[in-house]
Symmetry: D2
Subunit: 411 residues, 4 copies
Amino acid sequence: MPQSKPVIDEGASLSRQFLETRTLTEALTASLSDADATIQSMEDASPAKWHLAHTTWFWETFLLRDYAPGYRLYNERWPYLFNSYYEAEGDRIGRFSRGLLSRPTLTEVLEWRAHVTDAMSALLDEPAHADLIALGIAHEQQHTELLLTDIKHALFQNPLGPAMFGGSPEPAMSPGAQPLGWHQHPGGVIMIGAQADGFAFDNEGPQHRALIEPFALARRLVSNRQWSEFIADGGYSTASLWLSDGWAWVKEHGISAPLYWRDDQAFTHQGWHPRDPDAPVTHISYYEADAFATWAGARLPTEFEWEAIGQSHSAAAGNQLDGAAAPAPCGGEALFGDCWQFTRSAYLPYPRFTPAAGAVGEYNGKFMSGQFVLKGASCATVRGHSRASYRNFFYPHQRWQFTGLRLARDV
Amino acid sequence: MPQSKPVIDEGASLSRQFLETRTLTEALTASLSDADATIQSMEDASPAKWHLAHTTWFWETFLLRDYAPGYRLYNERWPYLFNSYYEAEGDRIGRFSRGLLSRPTLTEVLEWRAHVTDAMSALLDEPAHADLIALGIAHEQQHTELLLTDIKHALFQNPLGPAMFGGSPEPAMSPGAQPLGWHQHPGGVIMIGAQADGFAFDNEGPQHRALIEPFALARRLVSNRQWSEFIADGGYSTASLWLSDGWAWVKEHGISAPLYWRDDQAFTHQGWHPRDPDAPVTHISYYEADAFATWAGARLPTEFEWEAIGQSHSAAAGNQLDGAAAPAPCGGEALFGDCWQFTRSAYLPYPRFTPAAGAVGEYNGKFMSGQFVLKGASCATVRGHSRASYRNFFYPHQRWQFTGLRLARDV
Amino acid sequence: MPQSKPVIDEGASLSRQFLETRTLTEALTASLSDADATIQSMEDASPAKWHLAHTTWFWETFLLRDYAPGYRLYNERWPYLFNSYYEAEGDRIGRFSRGLLSRPTLTEVLEWRAHVTDAMSALLDEPAHADLIALGIAHEQQHTELLLTDIKHALFQNPLGPAMFGGSPEPAMSPGAQPLGWHQHPGGVIMIGAQADGFAFDNEGPQHRALIEPFALARRLVSNRQWSEFIADGGYSTASLWLSDGWAWVKEHGISAPLYWRDDQAFTHQGWHPRDPDAPVTHISYYEADAFATWAGARLPTEFEWEAIGQSHSAAAGNQLDGAAAPAPCGGEALFGDCWQFTRSAYLPYPRFTPAAGAVGEYNGKFMSGQFVLKGASCATVRGHSRASYRNFFYPHQRWQFTGLRLARDV
Amino acid sequence: MPQSKPVIDEGASLSRQFLETRTLTEALTASLSDADATIQSMEDASPAKWHLAHTTWFWETFLLRDYAPGYRLYNERWPYLFNSYYEAEGDRIGRFSRGLLSRPTLTEVLEWRAHVTDAMSALLDEPAHADLIALGIAHEQQHTELLLTDIKHALFQNPLGPAMFGGSPEPAMSPGAQPLGWHQHPGGVIMIGAQADGFAFDNEGPQHRALIEPFALARRLVSNRQWSEFIADGGYSTASLWLSDGWAWVKEHGISAPLYWRDDQAFTHQGWHPRDPDAPVTHISYYEADAFATWAGARLPTEFEWEAIGQSHSAAAGNQLDGAAAPAPCGGEALFGDCWQFTRSAYLPYPRFTPAAGAVGEYNGKFMSGQFVLKGASCATVRGHSRASYRNFFYPHQRWQFTGLRLARDV
């Protein structure tokens, strides 16, 4: 939910952002068949077609239905299928039944998309709707990333290891042999949260002061090479490195490597390929990140520490998503990009946080228990979507996102 | 597994049967999209595409690979995907992961089918393979029926209630008001099991004697109207009518009507339609059939009793599958057709039964625990597939097949 | 439920049987603490205290409450605790909550037992109640055996391996090296089911004819030594030996030996002791018995075949329970005793079977799905309880009873 | 784990505290039978006997074994039974198998206790062990509280509703009609964490600064009367009041009231009694507390806010456990006592926190994910055990502790 403040478009009008976002979603799925776009591999993930439809439902429900004079729902039975979790918007099908929706077809969903994109043109330039439109764009960008991570998980289930994009991953930008440097911070009282001059989600505010101690944050993400050392040193079989819940998770699921690792290969959007030791490790859970940090004699940063460093970095730099190409971490010294970075901060409300009224108030606030905050952006994040105050959040066992690890230490 | 005896083709050569069966499978799926053919709604059911592929795998594995000189597997990685349960044929993907196989595509599977159908032509007329080919045909016919019941279950999950075929179900053939008649049998020693002059599965033999007591078997299947009376009389809430396992099943799953019933509608291959009270009830479990029989003061027949009556009826008569049209029970006095009929006989080996050697020996014998025998044929059974000695079998809680109920009583 | 026929007491009046049975139940539990008698190790098993109470509830509910003038329930809240599964007798606590009943105490339950045993004296000699009393005695004897197998399972969970009885198991009676002999049977029409001159459960009737083929039945049970050979030959890792459900069970639970085996030891009512290779193997499931028989090139008998042989053997011979001592199989040529013997017959109703009216009609009939018949008697069966027509029944995965295996073969 | 600093005994020597703690544990269980002390009602709870033994194992393992010259383990097989979760101390039985340990008996455990209490006398006055002894005392006091809440849960499962103590709960101290007052705090930088002059757990440090905003904290806990209003207003059926995980929990488990409520009664250590509307509500989950606060237009405090107020209150005041009597919340204005109070703070490490070396390092740190901090003390907390910096923690769905709710608000 946007804060009530003027939306400033840095170089791109809302209209243009809207169209670029809609177009990107569709371009990314161009190589998918109706069947590819229909399957669902676990409850946490959704079919690609569902993402295409749900983002369209969002525009239709929160903008067109309420503000476009005379607009009629494209299909009155589809909201039941494509509402995600908005209790205020009525019932919906079970989350793990999304993968059974062979109808409407991918073509029908794309026709709906075109219809809604077209209908939206009448509202895009009205300042009264700017906040809601900015929210809708950010929402669709989030689903762009989920679409990519969800379909990766679905294709991974197929023993044939189908590729969504051709070619091979690029080699990592920089050798891991380079010495690890640190960003230093002297501590003190800092300002946390979204500034008043651009869109932000409600959970990034209100802006407020926080007190932090001196610390250092690594200049690079942990690499596959380092992770292999952790494994070779018995990382996954040493109880003392793990949180209690993490150790139980390791035991129950027989975890012994990041998701998508097999021998010296990794599954990517381009199929199975040899793992690059210099690329950042990705697809790890909070439990794994925490155990690695303990093994390395370091720790995870808090979300405030990360943000203190992040405020002086460009959120638009680094390896992020620029178009319909295979996302893959490639390393380097950018703070943003490659992988979402675990913090040791639980995802909780900031002081004086209040969710917005109405259904969009369900966007963020109701998820504030049991999850951890991740900062930065990943190779699958639409460039321009994230910022220093951005708070991504997942449960500690989840690892199908492009999640990675940047170490911190006390100084 | 076929008995070792000459196969007599009654009016149709093996070649013609083979081609008709292959063609029918494909014709039935003509209206399905790649996505429709990919989804899997439960572990018991398989995707339509999987059935198309598995039946092709069967020909390739048991005939072409072993007997067609120089034949090379169409794709060496596909057996892992399309082996069903043959341990002797190696590993395979988890049964409930079949619905994640968006690749190979429906088109690719159909091309494989054409390739294999074509390659088989060299073997179809060789007497040495006749038994195995007859088995393959029967196998594919079984999957034709499963394909129909599985896709029905999958489409049913979709709140839109998509139809696989157009039009509406035909009205039932005969009013339920007609008095119920009975087939009488004096009991005595009868011969049970497949005769020596045609194809039969291994579980239908060896032929052997059985001793039965006098009994009567109803001339008609129980109708929807009768079932509604059972419900109105509290059938689903009266513990004393139920087997202990059945009552636990009713309680755990909140069962209160046959599968696919909703208000006065039923889900069919043609979508949702009003239920015809005079049509036979279908999609009931063994537990429900047994409880109904108890409520009605009758019982289920044994498999021997049913077969004793069935031997004097034409197995090719009644409402069975003749082509690519929507299957639906319609009532009448034929013994075969409309619905598979529960017996109170557990599915167990006949005296001196031995499974065949090799992988095809896994066809039937290893399922001989925990299941019940059903006799007859259903509206989704390929006409010509069944016979009096035929033993279909399912677990007592399963009801996604066209299952129905013919009462018996002691006399 | 008893058939309506005169009960003939062979050498023991009902009164004496009643008192002996009550006394034996109590003597068996003399070494148990209140805590021992309270714990429940799985849903299939019940606490010893619960058995002591449930058998008392049976007398109070079906005899004293209905027929003893002026009798008042000892405690009006206890039936809710100690009804097992009689729906007609009202609600009851969840089956797996029995192990949470620390109150009433063991002492209180024993006082209740004494009270009810005493009150019963007024009814024991009334011919009108003879059938129901004979049923109650048989019922309590069944619970005597369950009490022994349930407490064995509970004590087994304790890493200390506590013994219920002192001493060590006796060595097996006869060396396994002796050649295996066979009981031969020519086949034909035989009479099956309970005769009219003594107590029998309703599921043993009505008496009826059955037709069997020539066969042979082994003179001895399969021994631990033979079972070790099965294991050494890869029995538990050879899919082709197993029923499909059995193989899934082996895989899911990591089964690799009979229950209570560990290295060369076995857990007994006398604690952990070295396994005697010449003693009959016990605590095996139907799946295991069937796989062994397949491996041995033999098969399990049907219940009719077993009964055909059993009719000429004394059901009171062999190793059965005579008093408060540790039960353990010891081998030999008796047909009855040592272990209940799996048949390949499903537990189903005999022709013209009808359960009795009222709550006692729930005794047997409602369990007629999914289970297999076992014949004979075990070392934990009260001597005198079983007979040739006796039908014990368990699910194919259960193995906490003294279950064993006698091979059969076609001749 | 204690900080390395001198332990100052405020009015009680360590020796005296040790003996008082040991004695209290035993006095509380005086009314329990061996069976009462053996049962386990859920995985989260442990048997009373297990608590008696585990606290004894702690002294034997961490003090006697390592520091008492010549000490030999009382029973070498018991550590396997009574280690709770210390991976460094080796294997142990499954957590939900504790309720199957009928042996050792309660008497044997009490004898072990006496033996260990006696053996400890040689170490109690050695300054070198003071920190570890202070930890052991605090550890045993925690188990005293768990013993009380666990046995309450176990007895609650019994339909007879047995009482652990006689008599009835006292009426609440003060009428709920009194206007609610607030503790005000101006915000600013405060010191958080344990001071250097007494025992504290490792998770209470290091002491550090925190920045908080102005707020107010209610002078009283929320009462049963207020909770009834929440229920009457549809609290449990209004999705918008709940966290997403909380709403799923309500739906899955059919939650509609606090644990132990039934009609207008509540289950207590004294059995079932009418609920006092003026007493504080207790046995609520974090989800419920959060939903209530939302409904009330307030919020939960953070752990820092609570501690800021708590630093000026006596931690030894209020309704806490003074001896072997039934604990029950009674209301009033004390900040400590009656119920543990939920904060909206996740249980996470303080800046520069490091767990201690060795097995005792597993005491707190490894639980720092997924749980919430509770502050204060309850009616079942041994008086003297808690302090302002104390951090109790539980998962958001757990509610078998004496948990309650004190509202906070922004000012």
